[in-house]
Amino acid sequence: MKKYVIIGNSAAAIGAVQGIRSVDTEGMITVISDEPYHTYSRPLISYWLEGKVTDEKIYYREPDFYEKNNVMTMFGTRAVAIGGGYVTLANGGKVQYDKLLVATGSKPFVPPMAGLEDVKDKFTFMTWDSAKAIKEKVTSGTKVLIIGAGLIGLKCAEALYHLEADITVVDLADRILPSILDVRAGQIMQKHIESKGTKFILGTSVEQFSEHSAKLTNGDTVDFDIVVIAVGVRPNTELVSEAGGKVEKGIITDLTQKTTIPDVYAAGDCTVSYDSSSDTQKILALLPNAFMQGEVAGKNMAGEETVYLNAIPMNAIGFYGLHIITAGSYDGQADVTENEEKEQYKKLVFKDGLLKGYILMGDVARAGIYTSMIRERIPLEDVDIELLRTRPQMMMFGKARRDEKLAGKM
């Protein structure tokens, strides 16, 4: 009977459990996590903070998930080292493995900032615990300073907006959400968020913190009750690097999710993925990506050879009620349409006869058809470009491809 050990308990880990169990119903699976919780959905912490998701609904899988999948759990336990067929735990214990998955995710990056040590109520926003800590400090009117206008910072801002906090977001960049939006889409979103009362101070950073205020490089001073630092994340790669595995920006794996250490696999936000839309290696810190990598890792660990292909950056997210769906890369010839009044924006990016990426804001219906064009690398010459430009629709594919996709004819 094979012994599987998984370090981590989020999407990649759950994907791995399901992957292993789809092949091997017998082997012993142990999940080690430093968090004390049943697997919960990390992106849901902002919904939880807002009050939209309850304690019962934040869980990523049903309460009997581990039982049903015959998984042994070691929660609240930190793995400190791997190697030689063992995982070493913080308490000195050792767990033996035949196949190991490192699904350790990432941690918030807190850069050195002058005076930060004087701020008592400072938080990051990555875990349920961090959300719980913030919630304790926020009531109606609480002044919140968020450093970072990226996905995490703004998701946190949205949640706090629902708690009626007084929010100011500061970012060194001169625009918001630069990781997923272009300049124009960022402007529309910024205007939308500002219309709800959240303030942005962009192109600036904190020069000096004191306990309840921050002096900015542009000369302004922002008073706050609490600070949330959301400038970025760093993958948790130490276990692998210390065991001699190859690590660059993140843990390096092959397409089967195997690291350079024998019998050790890695998946999720701690790894580097191959982005097929831009033909580059990058960290794709996305839940769907983590789950699917985990699943592929699990299958390979259990002996079913599978590769993970077609990974692309993709995000579906909404802020203050305005939805965005984006995917792929924005390097190429762009086709942009906009309806400012309706807060709708659409950008399609073409290159090498393929759809390479898109941004949809406001009207996101059926976006997955565009995603499939990117992932499946469907040549533009095979589709009706006019229909493609109009909106995502199956009509744009020719009869043969529609038959294949819709009519079950291969």
């Binding site: 939209k52 789950f291 995000n315 997955g368 199956m394």
Partner: protein, 144 residues
């Protein structure tokens, strides 16, 4: 597994499937009540039409469902081959909308959660109502 298929040759773009779907899954007793007082329940089947070609599209219940793998809450799951959504767990993030290659996950402005075809397994109509309501037997429920 039996699935819903649409034969382009016979689809008239009458859109009745959309109305049967919306009504049957609205919880209302009948179609008139489902749409009473300006209510606009959402259909999980959508008709695409052009000058000469029409067809309805709904969930393919993929053997490898990207929507389920992508779901950030665990609201989407597969049971006996049917991909369905626990709407009480959906937060309306639309990651499934991003993932579905057929554009079959429908967004609802009213409920803020998604709607998708569950082959009418959650209402008491037996076979899918889009199939039963199609006036030209363009929509069929069969093994392929």
């Amino acid at each position: 597994m039996k699935k819903v298929y649409v034969n382009e040759e016979w689809c008239l773009a009458c859109h009745l499937c959309e109305y049967y779907c919306a009504a049957a899954n609205s919880g209302a007793e009948n179609m008139i009540k489902a749409f009473a007082n300006g209510k606009k329940p959402i259909s999980a089947i959508q008709v695409e039409e052009s000058d000469s070609i029409n067809f309805a599209v709904q969930c393919r219940h993929c053997p490898v469902p990207l929507c389920v793998k992508s779901c950030i809450t665990g609201a989407l799951s597969v049971k006996d081959g049917v991909v369905s959504c626990d709407e009480s767990r959906c937060v309306g993030c639309y990651t499934c909308v991003l993932a579905c290659p057929y554009g079959c996950i429908v967004t609802s402005e009213q409920s803020k959660v998604i709607r998708k075809c569950d082959l009418c397994t959650k209402n008491n109509n037996g076979d899918p109502v889009c199939v039963k309501g199609c006036p030209n037997r363009a929509i069929v429920f069969e093994e392929r």
